[in-house]
């Protein structure tokens, strides 16, 4: 979709206020954000319900510009990049902009979410429109004051000029501008005229971060607040039978112990005391539902893959016949474990529930949904709930769920006191909502040297894949193609984990294609290019990816990585993937160090359309790649008798600097509308690494974490 320069809006689309008490203009315009990748904005934006969109610009009488960043900031950079879009079209210098995190605003910001790598994609046109419309209103006010036509005026960085050379600052006309009608058909800038978009812009919070200012949920304080540590069931499927809190209450600084549901809250005057108090509780738990172990999960998932009770998500042609007629069949089973999110900032939330209002403050990726659930939980009206979003020490999907906010609200309500619930690292790692364990069986049918059938089966704990994914590559490229899913409902809770649904599938699929090329006796890259050729010009509307854009990133990755020309001792592995609307190709370079594979370099080529903030974009690309390497090589949470077998970093490995490769990033030069970067570079990298390890050792890795399943002793080279 090419960027459109003129957008029609109805008058109702702007919520406009006249002068603020402190002077200046506040323009409201609703911004739609969604956490689901399958929601597309329609081509004609006038069809959208503008109550779903909102962004604010505040211009004071002195011309100072405050831009409210609408979406939660989890480290993905939207607090910087979304305001950039507004500032660009408003035509102010970035140095004159002050960015403030927007609070949850039920009237104007109705869908503020961080998830699915969708913020820039959905904000691209509406946010620019907000800036452009505000600029036009300021011009119109200046023109009226001068008695000239608006078309005779121009702007430059907050200053309006007319043909005679007279100037007025935005602050001089803002009060008048606020009373004017909202113009329709405002033109957006040509991309060549961008002064801010496409430039390296620093993180708006950098000064506060590097000097340790209070920014995160864990830093938030309120007078009279009690610190809360919660005892939750040690194993999944357990219920609380009884407990003895005498030792806890004897600790100086412990104020109270409150049972709520299946959990026990210890309220204290500071965090350490609350944690000590929780550790001193003696609780008796009953195993109510099954106590599951990893051996059971493995057996169950393999059983599902071997069985016949699948739900078919996509079926093209007849895979059964294709496999029956094949000269050769390649079939592989791939396995991946549960994965905790391990945000560096553990879960936490502040709540102050009083008779007339409910105040919530903390790190949350879904502020609106969470507020609704808190109101429901306490039987209160949603209008009584306010939510202030703090900066988040990582989200990765864990902070979509808001369970920690519900806990804080319930405890505050019961204690009749402001409280902050703080998870210890152990609480955080054992509380659930993990990436589920998933196994895949992938099979390909080859006949007369061609790929005639492809059958992908997924068996997941609780469920994983959903409707859109079966329409990713290689859908459309193979005549007989089928995607089947099966799942086992466990009492272990699961949820979205950075690039959910694809974060494991991509690696395994790319490993499979690597092996497939070898079995077919064709070049790895050529296999992909030939398949993509078949998809060009397809009329299948379900196809999600662009074969041209995948081809583009493949060719660039081959060129930039020196594919096929690596020096001795360096082994390369390739992967290409489309997800979250972005097309990515990666090449991993590894060496073998005493039989241990070490990733030295990754070449990552990304087609995400316009790169709004190259500095921030690069961070996301590199972060996704290294995150993907770390988790595919080392990450694993196992269970025994319903209990997670690891709960802190002495027994769980997160990737560290010493294991990190240098990542070289290349963006495809494009003027297409921007697509997201928070997730897309993560899914394929495990595949690139596994393929490089094959090149080095002759061993195909089919089970993550790769380093545990490497059989190091048997490695050659």
């Amino acid at each position: 979709m090419q960027t459109s320069k003129t957008i029609k809006f109805s008058r109702r689309s702007f919520l406009q206020t006249s002068s603020l008490a402190s002077g200046g203009m506040l323009i409201g315009f609703n911004l739609f954000t969604a956490c689901k990748a399958d929601i597309k904005p329609p081509e004609d934006l006038s069809l959208l319900n503008y109550n779903d969109f909102n962004a604010f610009i505040k211009i004071s009488n002195e011309g100072k510009v405050t831009i409210f960043a609408p979406n939660p900031e989890i480290g993905q950079g939207v607090k910087t990049s979304m305001p950039m879009l507004i500032a660009e079209e408003l035509d102010v210098a970035w140095k004159d902009v002050h960015v403030v995190q927007g609070a949850l605003d039920n009237e104007n910001f109705s869908r503020q979410v961080a998830g699915g790598s969708q913020s820039l994609r959905h904000g691209w046109l509406p946010l620019r429109q907000t800036g452009a419309t505000a600029r036009q209103m300021l011009i119109n006010a200046a023109a009226a004051q001068w008695g000239v036509l608006p078309s005779e005026c121009s702007t430059k960085e907050g200053l309006i000029s007319n043909a005679s050379g007279e100037t007025l600052g935005y602050g001089d006309v803002v009060v008048a501008a606020a009373t004017l009608p909202v113009p329709e058909d405002v033109e957006l800038k040509d991309q060549k005229a961008f002064n801010i978009i496409g430039k390296d812009i620093s993180n708006v919070d950098i000064d506060e971060i590097i000097t340790g200012k209070s920014l995160f949920g864990l830093d938030y304080k309120r007078e009279g607040m009690q610190y809360v540590s919660v005892l939750r069931p040690p194993a999944f499927g357990q219920v609380l039978e009884s407990f003895d809190d005498s030792a806890t209450r004897a600790i100086a600084g412990v104020n109270d112990v409150i049972k709520f549901g299946n959990k026990i809250a210890v309220l204290a005057t500071n965090t350490w005391t609350a944690m000590q108090g929780k550790n001193a509780l003696k609780a008796v738990w009953n195993q109510d539902t099954k106590a599951e172990s990893t051996a059971f999960h493995d057996e169950t998932l393999l059983g599902l893959l071997d069985g016949n009770s699948f739900e078919t998500l996509r079926k093209d042609g007849d895979v059964k016949k294709a496999f029956a007629d094949a000269d050769q069949v390649l079939e592989r089973t791939y396995e991946s474990p549960f994965m905790p999110h391990n945000c560096m900032e553990p879960m936490n939330f502040f709540a102050n529930v009083t008779t007339d209002k409910i105040e919530l403050v903390g790190p949350i990726q879904t502020p609106a949904w969470t507020s609704t659930r808190v109101a429901e939980l306490l039987g209160r009206d949603e209008s009584e709930v306010s939510l202030q979003m703090t900066r988040m020490g990582g989200g990765f999907g864990r902070r979509l769920y808001g369970d920690f906010a519900l806990e804080a609200a319930e405890v505050s309500h019961l204690a009749k006191s402001p409280v902050k619930v703080i998870f210890s690292r152990e609480d955080d790692m054992t509380d659930g909502i993990y990436r589920p364990a998933i196994k895949y069986r992938i099979a390909a049918a080859i006949k007369d040297g061609k790929l005639t059938g492809y059958h992908l089966k997924e068996a997941a704990i609780n469920g994983n894949m959903y409707g859109l994914i079966p329409n990713f590559f290689p859908a459309g490229a193979i005549e007989n193609y089928q995607v089947d899913v099966a799942n086992y409902k466990s009492n272990i809770t699961t949820g979205a984990w950075r690039a959910p649904f694809t974060n494991v599938l991509a690696s395994f699929e790319q490993s499979f294609f690597d092996e497939l090329a070898q079995v077919m006796g064709v070049d790895r890259i050529q296999l992909h290019l030939d398949l993509l050729q078949k998809v060009k010009g397809t009329t299948d509307e379900r196809i999600q990816y662009s074969p041209e854009r995948l081809e583009g990133v493949i060719k660039m990755a081959v060129e930039k990585s020196g594919w096929g020309k690596s020096s001795e001792g360096i082994y390369q592995g390739f992967a290409v993937y489309y997800c979250h609307n972005t097309h990515v190709a990666e090449v991993a370079d590894i060496i073998m160090d005493n039989g241990i594979p070490v990733v030295k370099k990754v070449t990552c080529v990304v087609d995400c359309g316009v790169v709004v903030n190259p500095l921030g974009a690069k961070n996301q690309v590199v972060g996704g790649v290294i995150d993907g390497i770390g988790h595919s090589m080392y990450g694993e949470l196992t269970f025994k008798d319903g209990k997670p077998e690891s709960n802190n970093y002495n027994t769980y490995q997160l990737i560290r600097m010493g294991q990190t490769p240098q990542v070289e990033v290349h963006f495809v030069d494009s003027d297409m509308d921007p697509t997201g970067l928070g997730e897309p570079t993560l899914p394929p990298i495990g595949g690139a690494v596994a393929n490089a390890i094959y090149a080095a050792t002759g061993k195909r890795l089919t089970k993550q974490p790769y380093m545990k399943n490497l059989d190091v002793e048997k490695v050659i080279g």
Binding site: G393, D627, M657
Partner: protein, 153 residues
């Protein structure tokens, strides 16, 4: 409850705490210095790193009872206006993503560069290995330490 005198960023604070209370929580909850972060509580992640007599130390593992007479420096005290060469380098490279681990990274890097102002790449990687960054801003951290080193030497 016992009281302790702690010298933090040049100022002496008298605090009341049980003697096994880690410095980390005294800093955060009692003295309102929230720049030092909690990540794991067992000295594995480095988010809680401060300087004790100039040495990088895990404040989650230092109890208040052993800190009498020591000079403690937190991220807030590293410089008056955020202008320590390591902080400036962090800005120049635009290191942080979520930012949560960065106080610890900066404190580890600054103590390290104080001992070794002209480190090799592999020395930097070894020195920073103890600090986890979940957002994986490692390439940028490495670069920033190099930039800071070049300013200091």
């Amino acid at each position: 409850m016992p009281t302790f005198q702690l010298k933090i960023n040049g100022e002496t604070h008298t605090i009341e705490a049980e003697e096994n209370t880690p410095l980390l929580w005294v800093l955060r909850d009692q003295i309102d210095l929230v720049g030092t972060k909690y990540g794991c509580g067992i000295g594995q992640c480095g988010a809680c790193t401060v300087h004790v007599d100039g040495e990088a130390t895990r404040s989650c593992l230092q109890t208040v009872s052993v800190l009498a007479g020591k000079e403690i420096t937190t991220i807030e005290g590293l410089s008056e206006y955020g202008t320590h060469p390591v902080q400036e380098a962090w800005k120049a490279v635009d290191v942080p993503q979520c930012g949560y681990c960065q106080s610890g990274q900066i404190m580890t890097a600054s103590a390290f560069l104080n001992e070794n102002a002209n480190p090799s790449k592999s020395e930097i990687r070894d020195a920073m290995h103890g600090n986890i960054c979940r957002c994986a801003s490692y390439n940028s951290i490495e670069k920033a330490v190099e930039v800071a080193a070049s300013k200091l030497s």
